[in-house]
């Protein structure tokens, strides 16, 4: 079939790295998004301020610049801390800041900001009558959140989460620039060594296309399920 010149297994394990990266970043982004949205809606001025600062700053900076800052800056930071610990307490502490962690942290932070907006809108879309009803039943705040707000909010948040996930998937390619051996990196090295760019990049592009297309179908299916019982205006 398609001769990958012996790079096949490497490309495959690179693809696994890409998928792992995407899922871990998504988990972090969803967590940050929930925290961010809760702070924005909390009514606490300080929490609101921090969340607004966070989403505003993230929207102004390119993802690659953030990634480079975290990767290179993180290492310098770790070095400074380990120097300090060694000089003052003689504690030997050091770790290599690796591209995978930097990638997850950066993408989690970036998409956390977008998820914050998604969740905020979704929380606001839940009817206030629902919350009043929960109060009337004597639900605590936490109970209202878990049983009433959260499940109903998810339905409204789903399209936004889907869009963010599609962008996130494609952003994983950037982590190859800071040296993570994902499938883009493997393809780049193979393409340079064999002088066959199309041969290696086109299959990688096809894998990305399959991932985005598959996600699209899955999100459509989820959306249909989540909206069961909702009468839609035509």
């Amino acid at each position: 079939m398609f001769d990958l010149k012996g790079y096949g297994p490497e490309l495959l394990s690179g693809a696994v790295v890409t998928v792992e990266l995407a899922f871990l970043s998504l988990a972090l982004a969803l967590t940050l998004g929930l925290i961010g949205a809760s702070s924005k809606l909390s009514g606490n001025r300080v929490a609101q301020g921090i969340a607004t600062f966070y989403t505003t700053v993230i929207r102004g900076i390119p993802d690659l610049v953030m990634m480079l800052l975290f990767y290179y800056g993180g290492q310098v930071g770790v070095n400074a801390i380990s120097d300090y610990l060694w000089e003052t307490y003689e504690i030997d502490f050091f770790f290599q800041f690796d591209p995978f962690i930097s990638g997850v942290v950066t993408m989690g932070l970036i998409f956390g900001a977008y998820m914050t907006e998604t969740f905020r809108g979704a929380f606001l879309a839940v009817e206030t009558g629902q919350i009043e009803a929960a109060r009337a039943y004597g639900f605590t705040r936490w109970h209202t959140f878990r049983r009433i707000m959260f499940p109903q909010m998810l339905r409204h948040a789903l399209p936004g989460i889907g869009n963010n996930w599609q962008v996130l998937l494609k952003t994983t390619a950037l982590v190859s620039i800071i040296g993570l051996t994902d499938m883009v990196r493997v393809a780049e090295e193979a393409a340079k060594a064999e002088r066959m760019p199309f041969h290696f990049f086109v299959p990688v592009a096809a894998v990305y296309l399959a991932l985005t297309a598959g996600s699209e179908l899955f999100i459509k299916w989820l959306d249909k399920r989540a909206n069961v019982g909702v009468v839609q205006g035509s």
Binding site: I61, P62, V65, L68, L69, Y72, F201, A205, T212
Partner: protein
């Protein structure tokens, strides 16, 4: 200027005239690259969006395929394919095209323009298909032919609805353009990477460039908000 700022400027070794000039050149490159690719993308997106709304599958199908491929894969891969791939086209090195595409700027411009054109096409298509039916009926009742209807009714009304989504695409493009630095273009990010490796000063190099990008982003956001206000001025409540 306050004394502590002048003192800091005197003492630091990183932000000298040399490095600031490097950032300036990077800024010029970034703006050129983004502006040109957006203009080219928009110019092609309008006719493509019209074709995309055609009922004939042989016309709308190819456009759909193009936008699907370019929206479904990362821009970085598209850039790599074009940047490394062009040199591999048999015989290209003997034509005048080679003189142009040897410079990394032009393959990057081509990749960015193709990418933004795909997204813009879908944005405009969405705006065209959501044109209120009554507007088109009214135009028909006035005896306007297809071309006149498009030009006078559909496209201006679609433009108003597309502006919001398009402003997001512009900012997305500005941010995506940072990857130009991986094909040796010294754009803003490229300048920051050079300065980082010269001084081993990641915070100074990248935070400074992040601030520059933020300034650009928020200027664009402001400009688009003004444009939107202007385009939707007929919808503003009376007396506001």
């Amino acid at each position: 200027m306050p004394e502590f700022i002048t003192q800091w400027l005197d003492q630091n070794e990183i932000f000298t005239t040399m490095t600031l000039l490097e950032y300036w050149d990077g800024l010029v490159n970034t703006i050129q690259l983004v502006f040109l690719s957006l203009i080219i993308g928009l110019l092609f997106a309008v006719p493509l969006a019209i074709l995309r709304t055609s009922r004939n599958t042989f016309i709308s199908g190819p456009v759909w395929l193009y936008t699907y491929l370019f929206r479904g894969t990362p821009l970085l891969i598209q850039l790599y394919i074009i940047y490394y791939g062009i040199a591999q086209i048999p015989g290209i090195q003997d034509t005048f095209w080679w003189e142009i595409f040897r410079e990394p700027f032009y393959p990057a411009l081509l990749a960015f323009a193709l990418n933004t054109c795909a997204y813009t096409t879908e944005i405009i298509r969405g705006a065209i298909v959501s044109t209120p039916h009554g507007e088109i009926e009214a135009a028909k009742a006035y005896g306007m032919n297809w071309w006149l209807r498009m030009r006078r009714i559909v496209l201006p009304s679609a433009a108003r609805r597309a502006v919001q989504a398009y402003s997001n695409e512009v900012i997305f493009m500005l941010h995506s353009s940072a990857i130009a630095s991986v094909v040796t273009i010294v754009d803003l990010t490229g300048a920051a990477r050079n300065i980082y490796s010269r001084f081993y000063a990641p915070f100074e190099a990248f935070i400074f460039v992040a601030l520059l990008y933020m300034t650009l982003t928020f200027t664009l956001v402001y400009a688009f908000r003004r444009l939107e206000r202007y385009l939707l001025r007929h919808q503003r409540p009376v007396g506001s």
